[in-house]
């Protein structure tokens, strides 16, 4: 109890406090996501100049790169929630991890799909088995494995602990994806954006990219919170406050 008084937002670790907060946050973040996406895509498609090598086909980058960033970051978040759930037995953390997985898998799939569409005109091939593409594909299998293991075990508590453990074991893959373009000579281009060195692209492209990244973030928050709400209602059927909401 004293910890909750020291850190006021700790009260949201309880599902009954989390639910109304999520209710207020979801429309906010969804609206933000739509606005940011519209502005970002407008700048990306109409304002940013043609690439001198790739012409207009590079513009799929504005979906591909944010999706790839999200796919990695969501997995790291999932692993973090898995650790919290496994070590401190916080049920809300497990619900968050469970809610993050489908969105993470979706972004991984979008990254792979848009990457293939981009690769065809640029490299001449839809797919290549180099380090970055292969490790991103493995990331998709990690998400699918997490969701598959969770749903395969009938006992919910054992399922959540087993899947959390699996997520933690698989987190070693994310640095491999991120650093794969540096460690191996691959067909995939190296990073053109680094926090320390600034960007090697025009400011229009950069701003569109960052806006799309923020849009994907806001979308993720909205969707994951909404999914967490649905999971809470499902799991806490017996709680009075939950059954009242469900009946509405």
């Amino acid at each position: 109890m004293s910890a909750a008084r020291r850190i006021p937002w700790m009260k949201y670790a309880s599902a009954s406090n989390f639910y109304p907060l999520a209710n207020r946050l979801v429309p906010l973040f969804m609206g933000l996501a739509i606005i940011l996406a519209v502005i970002g895509l407008y700048i990306g498609f109409f304002v940013a100049p043609e690439d001198y090598q790739q012409g207009n086909s590079y513009r799929i980058m504005f979906l591909h790169v944010p999706a790839a960033w999200m796919s990695m970051f969501i997995y790291l978040l999932l692993a973090m929630y898995a650790i919290i759930s496994l070590v401190w037995r916080v049920k809300m953390a497990d619900i968050m991890a469970y809610s993050l997985a489908p969105t993470g898998a979706m972004f991984t799939f979008i990254a792979l799909l848009t990457g293939a569409l981009w690769g065809r005109p640029t490299w001449g091939t839809y797919w290549i088995w180099d380090a970055r593409l292969t490790s991103e594909l493995l990331l998709l299998f990690l998400y699918l494995g997490y969701m598959g293991l969770y749903s395969a075990i009938p006992d919910r508590q054992r399922a959540s602990r087993a899947a959390s453990f699996l997520a933690i074991v698989g987190v070693v893959n994310v640095p491999i994806i991120y650093f794969s373009v540096i460690w191996w000579n691959t067909l995939h281009q190296g990073s053109s954006f680094s926090v320390s060195e600034g960007a090697s692209m025009t400011s229009d492209m950069l701003s569109a990219l960052l806006l799309m990244a923020l849009a994907c973030w806001a979308y993720t928050i909205a969707v994951v919170l909404r999914r967490a709400q649905a999971v809470i209602l499902e799991r806490k059927k017996v709680a009075l406050w939950a059954s009242q909401i469900s009946k509405k």
């Binding site: 299998f141 293991l149 075990i153 508590q157 087993a162 699996l166 074991v169 698989g170």
Partner: protein, 222 residues
């Protein structure tokens, strides 16, 4: 404690001796799976030499996953697994002994069969040596890592290919190292780097995997 560990090891050996057919079917699967590659792709000798490392390693991978099923499932069914967890031996050490026994029973035969398969694929003597060595170092790693997946899914009725899906991200680096060691030796490239990395992976998994499997078993058994 040494006597208890030795008893565990000899128990696994005795169980194998009494029910050899479990392991022999897995070996049969290995041989057939390897044979499917030239039958399904092409029996052109040059092509066979190129796909040999991959075919043998993939078949070894699938055979290992198949064999892992019997590592914990029988013991879970008759309650021996829980009794083993209660033994006055560190669980990680107990599991290390059982995993070594499991490798000797299911992995070592694959390694011993590798030279024959190398001949089937038309590899030279040196290439067969590299192939066998890569399997000798690689199959223990596959067993050690695979046990984590087996421990998480033991007793599930609907697991099916779930274990393979879970283990794939862990197995891919080992697969790539093992097959590239053999194919590099075919092109005359020095393979010290590959074997160093595989040796390192073996040592790391020897040390860390028993603890991971112990945690996974504790999660499974509650």
């Amino acid at each position: 404690m040494h006597k208890m560990l030795w008893k565990l090891f000899s128990r696994d050996m005795t169980l194998f001796m009494h029910r050899k057919q479990d392991v022999v079917t897995v070996l049969g699967f290995f041989l057939i799976a390897v044979a499917l590659f030239p039958l399904g792709i092409s029996s052109d000798p040059e092509l066979l030499k190129t796909i040999a490392p991959g075919a043998v390693w993939i078949a070894a991978l699938f055979s290992t996953v198949l064999a892992l099923d019997r590592l914990f499932s029988e013991d879970l069914d008759d309650g021996t697994l829980e009794q083993q967890m209660l033994m006055p031996v560190p669980i990680a050490l107990l599991l290390l002994v059982r995993l070594i026994a499991h490798w000797v029973i299911t992995g070592l035969p694959l390694v011993l069969l590798a030279p024959l398969i190398g001949l089937q694929f038309g590899l030279s003597f040196d290439e067969i040596v590299i192939l066998t060595l890569s399997l000798l170092i690689g199959t223990p790693i596959l067993v050690l890592l695979g046990a984590i997946g087996a421990a998480l899914t033991v007793g599930l009725k609907s697991s099916g290919g779930l274990v393979t899906l879970l283990l794939l991200p862990l197995y891919v680096p080992i697969l790539i190292l093992g097959t590239s060691a053999v194919s590099s030796s075919m092109h005359g490239v020095d393979v010290t780097a590959h074997f160093s990395l595989m040796g390192a992976a073996l040592l790391v998994s020897l040390v860390l995997s028993p603890f991971a499997v112990a945690t996974a078993l504790k999660i499974t058994l509650d």
